[in-house]
């Protein structure tokens, strides 16, 4: 029975995957293949598959948030360590939901809306402050790189880092560095980035084909 179930899931992945690939990739001008794809309505089926997956993932996101809230509510009721922080989290989450609900019901009618103020002034402020805080970690990380072990690659990394940072300064004294910076970004950095992106894309294609032909079945575990 378990073998039958495993075979069914593999068959489902292959059928759904190949139908979706055909619906997405086969357009006009491919002769009989285009004709078959269009007449069988594969683009419509692919569109439906995509919608179903998106709504399924949305459902799992909601389940995840319900789980997050239930974990914190249980921390509050059991008075576990840090339960005060859980109160703050639950109140903030519920406040956003209740305020939005009241706005949609027409009870709160202020302009700009309270939910927009919460998003733009509180949420984005905290997000920006956290992103600004990353600066300290990045600078400390670069400092630690040279302190731990000096290698040729670490020296090249630090040299590039310094050239690019100094070259970004709008000062006449570092005009020469600015042109080196522009060349670095246009040639070696562009080449390395393309190589990395191509490597990721090739790995995605290999992994995708392995899944679609049933060679990789790790999702059944």
């Amino acid at each position: 029975m378990s073998r039958l179930g495993a075979a069914f899931t593999t068959a489902l992945v292959i059928v759904v995957g190949i139908l979706t690939v055909l619906g997405l990739a086969v357009g006009e001008g491919l002769g009989n293949l285009s004709l078959i794809v269009q007449t069988r309505g594969l683009p419509v089926i692919t569109d439906l598959f995509l919608q179903v997956v998106v709504v399924t993932i949305a459902t799992t996101v909601i389940i995840g948030i319900i789980n997050l809230l239930s974990v914190h509510i249980s921390r509050i009721t059991q008075r576990k360590g840090g339960w005060v922080y859980s109160v703050i989290l639950v109140v903030s989450a519920l406040a956003v939901m209740v305020i939005t609900l009241l706005e949609r019901a027409g009870v709160l009618t202020g302009r700009p809306s309270l939910s927009a103020i919460l998003l733009e002034t509180v949420q984005i402020s905290i997000e920006s402050a956290l992103a600004g805080l990353v600066l300290f970690a990045l600078v400390y990380g670069a400092f630690r790189l040279m302190r731990r072990r000096v290698t040729w690659w670490a020296m090249l990394f630090t040299l590039i880092l310094i050239i690019l940072l100094l070259g970004a300064l709008p000062l006449p004294a570092v005009n020469g560095l600015a042109s080196i910076r522009n060349w670095l970004l246009a040639v070696p950095v562009s080449a390395g980035a393309r190589g990395i992106l191509l490597g990721i894309a090739l790995a995605t294609v290999v992994a995708g084909v392995r899944i679609l032909i049933g060679q990789d079945r790790s999702y059944r575990e």
Binding site: T9, V52, A93, I117, L118, V187, G192, G195
Partner: protein, 214 residues
């Protein structure tokens, strides 16, 4: 004081609370982080329900003058979501594999088509056409791209003593590729520092503007 002003002052206080982390982990920082997680959870719920779940339910399950087939399709994502929940159960966990299989089938197809049409074909085209525009720089880009790919090429031969070694040519070109990767990662790191510096200075000017009333 208007609601907007209260919001700005709240943003000011929360920014200071986050920056207090520079002095070490403390309860002010934690309060701000928990508020952030709570607000994010709330906004994600609102956006997910309003932009995805309600339009789907209204278009399928609750649609007027619709057939039983459309209503049945409307139930599918919720059944798949319920099956995913069963993954936590040791006895019924296998049923969750059906939902996983469906998501992986569609996800793999999207990733495959996206990687080919969105990354592979455009990047190969621009890299090969670059040589025609500027021979020296175009060749350097071609060398960088190919040597970077060879650096990630892990095929090798087993020597008589049992260790696996790559060929000499692959090793030499791989070192060149490693150099290009280090330069790229250095540039990404510098970009991250510049981005966070810009955001940090914006926050500092926001704090000063609040204090001086600007």
């Amino acid at each position: 004081m208007s609601t907007e002003q209260i919001g700005l002052w709240a943003g000011f206080v929360f920014t200071l609370m986050i920056f207090s982390y520079v002095l070490g982990d403390n309860f002010l920082y934690r309060i701000a982080v928990y508020v952030f997680v709570g607000l994010t959870a709330g906004f994600i719920t609102v956006v997910t329900v309003e932009s995805l779940l309600l339009p789907w339910v209204n278009g399928t399950l609750l649609a007027a003058n619709t057939d039983i087939g459309t209503r049945a399709v409307g139930l599918v994502p919720f059944i798949l979501g319920a099956l995913l929940l069963l993954k936590a159960s040791p006895r019924l966990g296998r049923l969750g594999n059906i939902a996983i299989a469906f998501i992986i089938g569609v996800g793999t197809a999207v990733a495959l088509v996206g990687a080919i049409t969105g990354t592979l074909l455009p990047l190969i085209a621009t890299t090969s056409s670059g040589v025609r525009v500027d021979v020296v720089n175009g060749f350097l880009i071609f060398l960088g791209v190919s040597s970077t790919l060879i650096y990630f090429w892990y095929l090798g031969r087993r020597t008589p003593i049992g260790e696996v070694r790559r060929g000499l040519a692959a090793r030499v070109v791989g070192v060149v590729g490693q150099g290009f990767i280090v330069i790229t990662l250095g540039a990404i790191y510098a970009g991250a520092i510049l981005t966070s510096l810009t955001i940090f200075s914006e926050r500092i000017s926001f704090i000063l503007a609040r204090i001086t009333g600007g």
